[in-house]
Amino acid sequence: MKKYSYIGTAQNRIDAAGKVTGETKFLADLPVREAVFAAPVYASVPYGRVLSVDLTKARKYTGYLDFISAEDIPGVNEVGVILQDQPLFARPVVRYVGDTIGLIIADTATAALNCARQVKIDCEPYRPVFTIEDSKQMTEGFLHDSNLACEHRVEKGDIARGFELADHIIEASFSTPAQEHYYLEPQGCIAVPEPGGKISIIASLQCPFYVQKAVGRVLGIPYAHVRVEQAPTGGAFGGKEDVPSEVCARAAVAARKIGKPVQLIYTRNDDIQLTSKRHPFTMQYKVGVTKAGKLVAAQILLEQNSGAYATLSSVVSYRASVQAMGPYVVPNVSILSRSYYTNLPPNGAFRGFGSPQATFGHERMMDIIARRLQMDPVELRLKNIIRENEETVTGQKISHGAGAAETLKRARDAAGWNSSGTSRLSSDRYVTALGVATCHYGNCLGAAGWSLDGSAVHLSLLRDGSITVAFGLVEMGQGALTAVAQMTAEALAVDIARITVLPTSTDQVPDSGPSVASRNIVMTGQAILNAAQKLRPILRTAAARLLDCEESEVSFAGDRASNTLTGAHIGFTELADFLYLNNYPMSTTGWWHVPSLKFDAAKGAGEAYFTYSYATHVAKVRVDKLTGLVKVEKFWAAHDVGRAVNPAGIEGQVEGGVTQGIGWALTEQLVFDEGRVISPNLSTYLLPTAADSAEVDTAILEFPEPEGPWGARGIGEPAIIPVAAAIANAVSRAVGKQFYQLPLTPESVLSALSSISG
């Protein structure tokens, strides 16, 4: 394997020092001159028609300044990221508790919140629906044109013929719940009016170009008049993909009207009531398998609770549909995926984006099939796992780096997998077991989002040899800044100490699409390589002049340019100064777009994503049969990442993903009462603590991706995708009962233990 200077070497984070001293300024820490403060006024009924908004009491409150609503919008009252179904300020129809009607503006944040509580909204209530089933059965009074937000199909082979070939046909239904992101820093922004009708936004966000577009449309001004800068962001996990577009556009309307900077930061309770969650899924699987354990047919129905607006449902549904049978070869397939509107907060992007749900379906299914065949679950998976030159369920031939089987073997061996599956501890009260789950993850936006799938960087050499890199995606905790610095240093063969990665801002680089879909390393890495490719001939020409040799004799390595014949060399600092003094171009923009994808959306056939990451997790659980409590004792995670850029960062992603998955599997429960969240903070919505999470043993496998920078693929989302399935499989093996839904609370475990059927 080729040896690199920075790629593959654990690198300390370049943003860590400011974070361990408290010096890093997050949004709420920024001083703003002359600012006024906003608080949302929102529907308190899940579905209805606003008859009147009474501001009498709010106006009497000390500090009240203004109320901003739909009438104040100069442009369009529309903020839906894909479908145009979501108003910025709802009026007259409100579709969930939290649907925002307006903003109170006051001279302090506290006054704004207090005024907002005094606003009286009179509504004519409509009959709401909260579940997928009720949404489907609605016959009138739909939330939108119909209650079906979107649907996707995947059809391959001949499903009827496939079931004829099967020795066993196994059916099961599953359901998975919502999950709250609970990024530690809530949604927030500051909107600053600028001269000439322009506006600047600084915000906690993932997608600055989404915000630019939303603000431009809402204000009716050119995108070029909207500057969006990302503040250091205290976690996102998908929750700051599209939601900041609403938050920022609302503050922008207020800033435009009032002529002062407007700060809007959600309280925790409002954040949980108003913003998106992971989609709840119900899933029906019918799978045909031969005696020898070969999958021959799969018929799958996936249904999602979209909540009040579509937001990203259509791409969540797309991803879930094409990944619904996991990284397995199945010749005959019929998959249908549908999203239904309900009167709950909109469900949207959350790390994994439909994959953790679908993986719960296919991986629980694989264990149920293995049990029926009396076959070891790992063996069953290895018999069906996709390998090079085999086809996915969409008929996409995997030509490179199908490391799925290797992740299975590595996790199995590391965990000391035993076919019998369980061991009883000293008493009958506790039993431990291992559970396995495998997944794949299509990198970047895929065929459904191909047009947005290009990203840029801008590299500038300064006269003293220091280098700035602007990129169009963001750091949100995952380690992007450090990886960008590593990749730039590698591409230019310079010391990493020269590199400064700039805060992301829309005026630095072309529209780079969203920071989602685990696409940062791939997109930004390729854009860096593209920029370096443009700079290299310039550096080479200058170096040849300085070294008095032919350009072909110049090589770059170790922070200097050398004459390969004589060994004479010059340092990069000297070279940069020479470039400046001799009028050479010293900056360039790099760009990369994912390769074209042939995909037939009607049949769900073709190249769904340009490449896939693979992972296998093994969970070791201990079940307390007296209390029903499940304790995750240990996790083994094997990930094929193509090429590791920062191995320490990958471990961090995996450890964090496993813990977030443990929460979804065991303790996190969003409870609604008539559309109102009644678990709106940590005393009722239980996140895993250090005592609840498990030690994770991470194995990094590298089967390079030819289209990835240095062979790299994405890792952020694969880290969480198999977690809940592995835990549920382990618990099922431990107690000898099958589990079909999450979370695996003590109540659900005890209930299964007392039931008769297996």
Binding site: D15, Y182, L184, G234, M476, L687
Partner: protein, 162 residues
């Protein structure tokens, strides 16, 4: 934050990060708001505001407290250390350095509270096992790291000083 129309004020005297401070403050002001708004010490973060997450952890006379749960007036005459008070003249504490070296930081929002909890843990215990660290740290929520590398950092400082 409470809203009180007839605000009572109090002349608060205390020591913050080694410096004596005197301020006239409303009696209903939370310690968290006093530190952030009055003194500009924004390293102390608010996450849940109900004492569950530990992001607003500060040391009060050497003991960890959630600054969202107590009123500033309750700290009269006492000594407070915030994250800004740990490193002096640019020198990080061994634990701060360990958080960098062990890759314990991701988004960073929980980190000031984590470090202050870790500092107290190290002060209270000669030796710490990973399990003890996990139990002691369970009042501080992190959503990014899975805690493993935070445990690594605290364990390494505990081990190195033996």
């Amino acid at each position: 934050m409470l809203s009180v129309s007839n605000t009572d004020y109090f002349d608060l005297e205390l020591t913050v990060n080694g410096t004596p401070v005197r301020r006239r403050i409303p009696t209903h002001l939370r310690l968290l708001d006093f530190l952030r708004e009055e003194l500009g010490l924004t390293g102390t973060k608010e996450v849940c505001g109900e004492g569950e997450c530990g992001a607003c952890t500060v040391l009060l006379d050497g003991l960890t407290v959630d600054a969202c749960l107590i009123f500033a007036v309750e700290t009269h005459g006492m000594e407070i250390t915030t994250i800004e008070g740990l490193s002096r003249n640019g020198n990080l504490t061994p634990l701060q350095q360990a958080f960098i070296d062990h890759h314990s930081v991701q988004c960073g929002f929980c980190i000031p509270g984590m470090i202050l909890s870790g500092e107290q843990m190290l002060r209270d215990h000669e030796q710490l096992t990973r399990e003890e660290i996990r139990q002691d740290l369970s009042g501080n929520i992190c959503r990014c790291t899975g805690y493993q590398k935070i445990v690594d950092a605290i364990e390494s400082v505990s081990r190195d000083r033996r």
